[in-house]
Symmetry: C2
Subunit: 280 residues, 2 copies
């Protein structure tokens, strides 16, 4: 039985973009939205969703339930979604950390309905359905974190994966804890580094100085500083151990660079960085 | 007497772009280049310069001598340029740190010829005359660091400043040591942060992981990791005290973020970063 009705719970940048991408890739079923009245208005105006409904009306109709709220809301709502969803449904999420969500889902879900954790590696510094677009997932990695680390053989899961590929994303399957360890390095560490750089310069320099004598490098390196803490509170809070480990290793490197200040250790670091970039 | 002949000493990305920008802004005099035979060939082919000459032939003809070599070469060559230059000439440089160059120049130059330190806040991760372009200085800050912190009232200096404005740069005048303190924060710190991030991820993760699960944020934050140490050796080596101070303050912030890991201090840091970005 193919996916005919999709419920997007949390119609923001990610949920809205998923809806638009699904439609652009040829999905002809219904797309229901669950969000605040203001967001639903905006989503309906932009034709992101077909209908806005309360969760108790949307989820029971859906073959695919797409949870794209903040992580703490997903953790809270999972038991309720389990109660409301059809036994034949697939429930998935788009939270940026996976271990706690997958653990919480395992307490409530078995096969009917299925739960499958996901993380589209796409996003912007800004949020909201106003910025949603069908191209957001194009060429982006979409991590799936099934319990046990392997995708179950189920028709609805195969169909969901096919849609992910049709909207242009590269599906990557791995255990939730491995995902969280990797994103601590590739996403959470860069975010904290950028935020701290912007804050350090704000404290270390006069405003005039920093805006006069700042090149494109500084603008790039502080761009993530625009991200809202509202989202990052949950991300960092649900990945503390991995984030601390990554920061620890990073601080040690900076300490060595500070002592060396342009000497042979700095040269080695530039070489290693150059090799890393060439392999990307 | 207007500037009729320009000698570019070091026809790389910056020197070549200055020549092209000068020409594009209507400069109708001669542009001489001093560089390796290979670079002069490339510069002549791209019509970046009119003629390639040894320094002993180029500098004595020039009204404006533009030193755009690595900092250590500029430091070495200043006494010789002083000997070769016409008394009516202006000698300027494009080195990324200014205190040591201005100090060295003060030992050799007085008014005839003039020396004026400069730093165009423009560049790329890659080098070479092949990448030079007339638009490189457009909307970029061009810092001038006259001894004493104020531009001398001299016709040739006024004319040079007018050309800088005509090629699209925003001229900013400040003492050399102030420049070096600011760029330690706005340029050298971001560079070291980016290099260390790329190197940390290369060490902390498998190659496969880091290229699969990496978003645009990581690509931006490690882009400066492509910079060559060849150039940065001089930059960091001639600004060690300021670089160490900036790194020190930055490391302390990261230490606090590591302990806090998503708590109230992290929230404050995000707020400060957001305000900084909004003021840019």
């Amino acid at each position: 039985m193919p996916i005919q009705t999709v419920a997007i719970v949390g119609v923001g940048l990610i949920g809205g973009s998923f809806a638009l991408a699904l439609r652009a890739s040829g999905f002809s079923g219904r797309i229901l939205g669950v969000s605040s009245p203001r967001t639903l208005d905006a989503a309906l105006k932009r034709e992101v969703i077909d209908e806005g409904l309360p969760i108790a009306e949307a989820v029971p109709q859906a073959d695919l339930v797409y949870l794209s709220q903040p992580i703490s809301r997903i953790l809270d709502i999972l038991p309720r979604v389990r109660e409301l969803a059809k036994p034949s449904a697939l429930v998935t999420d788009a939270g940026s950390t996976k271990a706690q969500i997958v653990e919480q889902a395992a307490r409530h879900f078995n096969e009917n309905p299925w739960f499958l954790g996901g993380h589209p590696m796409a996003g912007k510094e800004k949020r909201g359905v106003e910025l949603a677009g069908a191209g957001l997932f194009q060429d982006a990695t979409y991590v799936l974190t099934p319990a046990g680390g392997k995708l179950p053989e189920a028709t609805i899961i195969a169909e969901f994966v096919r849609y992910l590929e049709e909207i242009g994303s590269r599906v990557s399957v791995m255990p939730a804890d491995e995902h969280d360890r990797i994103v601590a390095w590739t996403s959470h560490l860069p975010q904290l580094i950028s935020t701290a750089l912007a804050a350090a310069i704000a404290d270390g320099l006069d405003e005039q100085d920093s805006s006069d004598v700042a090149g494109p490098a500084l603008r790039d390196m502080t761009r993530l500083g625009e991200s809202s803490f509202e989202m990052w509170r949950d991300v960092l809070g649900t990945n503390q151990t991995n984030v601390r480990q990554a920061l620890d290793a990073y601080i040690q490197r900076l300490e060595r660079l500070r002592q060396d200040a342009g000497g042979p250790l700095t040269e080695q670091e530039f070489e290693k960085a150059g090799i890393f970039r060439n392999n990307q």
